[in-house]
Subunit: 214 residues, 2 copies
Amino acid sequence: MKVLVVGANGQIGKQLVKLLKESDQYSVTAFVRTEQQAREFEDFGVETVLGNLEGTVVELEKALKGSDAVVFTAGSGGKTGYDKTLLIDLDGAVKVMEAAENAGAQRFIMVSALQAHNRQNWNEQIKPYYVAKHYADRILVQSKLTYTIIRPGGLLNEPGTAKVTIAENLERGSIPREDVAKTILAVINEESTFNKSFDLVSGEVPIIEAVKNI
Amino acid sequence: MKVLVVGANGQIGKQLVKLLKESDQYSVTAFVRTEQQAREFEDFGVETVLGNLEGTVVELEKALKGSDAVVFTAGSGGKTGYDKTLLIDLDGAVKVMEAAENAGAQRFIMVSALQAHNRQNWNEQIKPYYVAKHYADRILVQSKLTYTIIRPGGLLNEPGTAKVTIAENLERGSIPREDVAKTILAVINEESTFNKSFDLVSGEVPIIEAVKNI
């Protein structure tokens, strides 16, 4: 099964690419923006494809060709303005969905944010960011893709525990990026997560078990 | 038929409220943000309701109660940042749609922007604004409301001609705000425009005729 990671150069993306590369179930392609990034992945033997989330759906479709699954873990990040939030986190994400539909990449995993589906629980300080994530998720649910929307809590850079709590609605919480990457890996082929959305924070249940019981 | 105008204090909104007030077919309520604005409308004998597009759907639902139709011609405008574009032009608009569905205001007229449905024709200089309008329109099309999406070209403050061109796709063009307001008035009860979207610029066809032939 060929998995394309959009946002491969991000902090979750890099760990996910490594996990996919080590697995015997998947082959991985890193979707990256610059040739410099591509070289870094290729030095580790990872296949890459160049693409730009501000490009057209047709261009993205070419980049996605041949993939069975797409993971969207890209984001414009906190260093750019809300113009990029609209262009990347919302429109960029939806263009990848449309490209996936057109390219026949039926499986789509979206990395969203805790409680993105509940306006009343959006973090006031980055509320416009939640708007973008909310609508990207809504468009995905209405698409024909087989989706899983993972909504992690506050992202940490500490080592993972491989134990999580998964539920439709969770209180504020956090989770190491490593465990988010492991959760993505665990859901790709797990039918119990098909066409489901869930909050994700650190917890007591092993990831494999937690995703089976969704 | 009771029509609620969201964005009543805007440049199109004010002209539309006047047209609705003068018609014998409709009664109008101006949805405004501040008490000062409300007083100005009430001085002209126009009913008002206070509401905030950054509020909750439940609050908006109360403001919409009893309306048969909602016109959304609000916008955060060019003076605020793209944070407000996300909060008002996208999330604010969709919250009004959800409130309309909940309140039983079945008819919904959206003022969008020329070619908002075609990414390749978005104005590069305000592209993030088009993203917000695009997704608000998409959510409206997928709602259960009886919608009409009007996508006017460049808005002018000169007097209207009451003659327009309407089509699914039009080249760049402009139109006086007065003619946009008249077109909104003409579509509210015109069944040929139900669940339709169209571009709108100045032209040669009388508005009443143009909206009948959609």
